[in-house]
């Protein structure tokens, strides 16, 4: 299964004890399940049959149900046969001869020979209930729903972008019947509807589960989508003349269980089964939404949100999601440059090490970037301490929204604070550094990942420096002025951690190889620190992290191995 929070999401973790439990049976097996579980908003509510079956290790197929959305109960795919303890006329339970409670299977009141299913997604369990998610009656109901969903479906899987991630395809194979009885003309609906700047809708593929409507209204807070027409002609649409355009529209593509909603950015780019999936983080703001990077042969094709209830639930914003193209840009820095000439890592690092080793204390300043990893910032801080250097990093502020987006546009401002490379207020020491350069006290400047000409150090000031050492990913005015250019890596090309705006430490892993001579910054920083300080560090990210966590109070000795996919809170 995919790591991305696409069509599926895990239910939120159960609330802490004491948990009242009730006993039920699932396919004849007794299980104890909590009486209450968190609903889509995390509030405790009566446990549903669907949740109970999941706890029992089973699965109830479903389309409209999603643990993070209000329950709609419209697809009827989750219908299951069930029974409850039989009550006598005296309202007391009735028992079988062996002493077990007699179970009254639910039947149609007007046709008692026919089982009546209940929708597992919305029906609460009760003590002694028996659920039959695999009985022949349940299977028949499921088959019938699938048959109904398919009668008007175009079945154009070969040209559908959802193929491979499609719940209709998947369930048809698992739960469908061989042939359909349908011999009528299909209903035709609009194809390739331009819903908004990022979304295309194929109404014929839509199963009308309303996930997209509910997400947009109840999560994104934008009452933009609805249904027009009636019955079989029902059609998802935006309001006439209005565009489906908020910063969360692409989540509906993830939520759509079929190929009805597609991303203009991704559609027809790549068959999903060719994509390699890598757990990562979004770097476009300090929220640090958990992501899955879809890549193939060194190229990033898409970001998708990955579930982390402590951070982003199962969502991410459109602007963060689409901010990946720079990774593959043609003008990425790929060469080590020494005074404008292509050089090698060995000779550039040797020269730099010698220069820094000789530098008088206080004559060097370091401007790091809060887009760097915590480990890199730690190494830079080590270097700066040895050199008696002033340090800071560049603040990048913008607007926040109510759902996910943070005002802090750096992914690791808290990492910069915790490692001590920056103070509480990022950028507050930059004017001091500028003064130092101006006065001639600062002769060497080390810049990582930011164009300082836009952050208070003008190109004229840079020109006064004896040595300007710059590491970056893309060319800018600062790299242009540099004596040494050290090509670095996008987060997708390396491993490391960020600390988000709420102080949560999160890992990301490598999806693609860097281009040309570019190297992960922590690798060459490790060499520099060794050369300049004489200290031997760790050459693995795990060792480096553990060393940092021991030395830096904010990390309180967290071990790399303790930081799982969901991250941990730092003490800050």
């Amino acid at each position: 299964m995919s790591n991305a929070a696409t069509t599926e999401a895990k239910p939120a973790a159960p609330a802490p004890p004491p948990v009242e439990k009730i006993k039920i049976k699932v396919d004849g097996r007794e299980v104890e399940v909590p009486k209450m579980l968190p609903n889509w908003q995390g509030k405790l509510e009566a446990t549903t049959m669907l949740q109970a079956v999941q706890i029992a290790g089973g699965e109830v197929p479903h389309y409209c149900y999603h643990p993070k959305l209000p329950v709609a109960g419209n697809c009827r795919m989750c219908l299951v046969e069930f029974g409850t303890p039989m009550m006598g006329p005296d309202r007391k339970p009735v028992f079988n001869e062996d002493g077990s409670p007699k179970i009254a299977k639910s039947v149609l009141p007007y046709e008692p020979s026919t089982p009546r299913g209940a929708i597992a997604c919305a029906t609460p369990i009760s003590p002694g209930m028996e659920i039959y998610p695999n009985s022949s009656a349940t299977k028949q109901m499921r088959e019938a729903v699938l048959e109904s969903l398919l009668i008007n479906h175009p079945l154009d899987c070969p040209i559908c972008d959802q193929a491979g991630e499609c719940k209709l395809q998947e369930y048809s194979v698992q739960h469908g019947q061989a042939g359909s009885n349908f011999v009528e003309a299909k209903v035709h609906k609009p194809k390739a509807v331009d819903l908004g700047p990022r979304i295309v809708l194929d109404d014929e593929r839509c199963v009308l589960c309303t996930r997209c409507i509910r997400f947009t209204k109840d999560i994104a807070g934008d009452d933009a989508l609805g249904i027009v027409n009636r019955g079989s002609y029902n059609t998802i649409a935006a309001f006439p003349g209005a565009k489906f355009d908020n910063n969360y529209t692409l989540n509906t593509v993830d939520l759509c269980p079929v190929g009805a909603l597609t991303s203009k950015d991704f559609r027809f780019q790549m068959r999903v089964w060719f994509l390699k999936e890598t757990k990562s983080l979004c770097t476009s703001c300090g929220t640090g939404c958990n992501t899955v990077i879809g890549s193939r042969e060194g190229k990033v094709y898409r970001y998708e949100p990955r579930q982390n209830d402590a951070v982003n639930s199962t969502w991410m914003c459109d602007s963060g999601r689409l901010n990946y193209k720079w990774i593959g840009r043609e003008d990425r820095l790929q060469d080590v440059l020494v005074r404008g000439q292509k050089s090698t890592w060995a000779s550039a690092l040797k020269e730099i090490s010698e220069k820094l080793s000789k530098a008088a204390s206080g004559s060097v300043a370091v401007i790091a970037s809060a887009r760097q990893t915590t480990e890199e910032l730690y190494l830079l801080k080590k270097l700066a301490t040895k050199l008696g250097a002033l340090t800071d990093s560049v603040a990048r502020m913008g607007e926040a929204d109510k759902l996910l987006v943070a005002a802090d546009k750096n992914p690791n401002s808290n990492g910069a604070r915790l490692t001590g490379i920056a103070g509480a207020e990022l950028g507050s020491a930059i004017s001091k550094i500028a003064d130092g350069i101006h006065s001639g006290a600062i002769k060497t400047l080390v810049v990582f990942g930011d164009d300082v000409t836009k952050a208070g150090i003008s190109a004229d000031l840079l020109a006064k420096l004896e040595t300007l050492i710059v590491s970056d990913i893309l060319p800018n005015a600062t790299t242009k002025a540099a004596h040494y250019v050290l090509p670095g890596c996008a987060h997708a090309e390396k491993r490391g951690t960020f600390v988000n705006v709420k102080g949560r430490l999160q890992k990301f892993t490598k999806a693609v190889e860097p281009k040309g001579d570019a190297r992960p910054e922590w690798e060459f920083l490790h060499e520099l620190v060794h050369n300049v300080t004489g200290q031997n560090g760790f050459i693995s990210i795990e060792g480096l992290f553990n060393q940092m966590a021991k030395e830096v109070p904010g990390f309180a000795g967290i071990e790399w191995a303790q930081v799982d996919d969901q991250g941990v809170n730092t003490i800050s």
Binding site: G73, N74, R76, A122, P124, A144, S148, E184, G231, S232
Partner: protein, 473 residues
Amino acid sequence: MPQEFRLILKNADLPGYAPDMECYLRHGGYEALKKAVATAPRELPDGKKQTSQEVIRDEVLKSGLRGRGGAGFSAGLKWSFVDRRSGKPIYLICNADESEPGTFKDRQILHKDPHQLIEGMVISCWANDCKLAYIYIRGEMPKAAKLLNVALKEARDKGFLGKNILGSGFDCEIHVHRGAGAYICGEETGLIESLEGKRAYPRIKPPYFPAVLGLYMCPTIVNNVETLCHVKHIVTMGSAEYAKLGTPNNTGTRIVSLSGDVKRPGYYEIEVGKVTLGELINHENFGQGLKDGRSLKAIIPGGSSSKVLKAGEVFKLNRKGADGQMTKVDVPLLDLPYDFDSLQQAGTMSGSSAIIVMDDSRSMVEALANLSEFYAHESCGQCTPCREGALWMAKGLHRLTHGEGRKQDADYLQHIAQNIQGRTICAFGEAAAWPVLSFVKKFREEFEARGAADEAKHASGGAPMKMAASPKH
């Protein structure tokens, strides 16, 4: 002699009777409301104390009044389910959407005697602590909506509505809300959604039982027009007297809409269960028989959604003998007492009490095609089985009635309908499936013959079968 018993329609058709306040007052109007608000609290023999409101609610329960909208559910029980501890307001909604094909009874009240409904509603509001009530009226009844608004103003002016009603300290407002022409707005939770300004998508139950999570997620009572009118008479007569009308468990009177192939179609108010289906169709006080030279073929007994009954059918009904013992008795179709329980035991329902009579000139295939097209058009489309199944059945029937039928279409239709009933969000699923299931079951030969004829025609060199026929909506 079987005859009408006019309680609700006692005045409506009197010569010169007008829907205005003066006329209503001249005929004893609003006396029941006065009696209701003057009701004294009482102590029951077991020592339990009842407030004045509880007394009225208890009266409605004891009267045995069953809902006249379709399901025939006890009104008193429904009221007893209302969550009175939530701290939220309790709403009353009058369902005046009357859209079930064949039904034309509520509109008699709405057009001719609106004050009777208002009086019934204010009493019901008083008894249930509702300060706000709505009349959700079918969009196609603009005149009734206008009349209701005039009547509401008159009631306000007279102090029967608004602040401090009749000096009782009770405040109550009623608003009229017009629907926009969809059958599904008559389903109570679809109605509530529509009233909230949304698409009339019926709600799932659980959790959205109106008595707990109804209008604006507050406790809500939804009752039919006729049901609410009965409340007035229960207060006037007292529950014991009222319960003498009709038959046990099927008390009071009911307005029957009689249509189809009878000489005198119309609406007839009867004591529930005191008149048989046969009398309603044939007696000179009612339908006055089939058209000359015609014989009975089928009866749709409770609105278009109810299962059809076939001429000549005999049913096994539970009857209490003189010794008090229950026995099964054979009851022929035309001897079925027209009430809730007998029709249910006959495998159908009295529904909205609309009887549609079909004589031997009628094609069951054509009739069903017509009905199915209605349901395909009116399915709200929210849930899969009904959304897809309703149109699927209509398309199949369209084919069968347009020369493209197959012998297997009887099974085909039954397969579709079977997969709808009991699997949907609202009872519309049954409403759409039951006509198909019952027509095909009881008149299978007719469906098969029609399909076989088409197949034979095609086999003998007619145009090739094309399965593209579909109804236009």
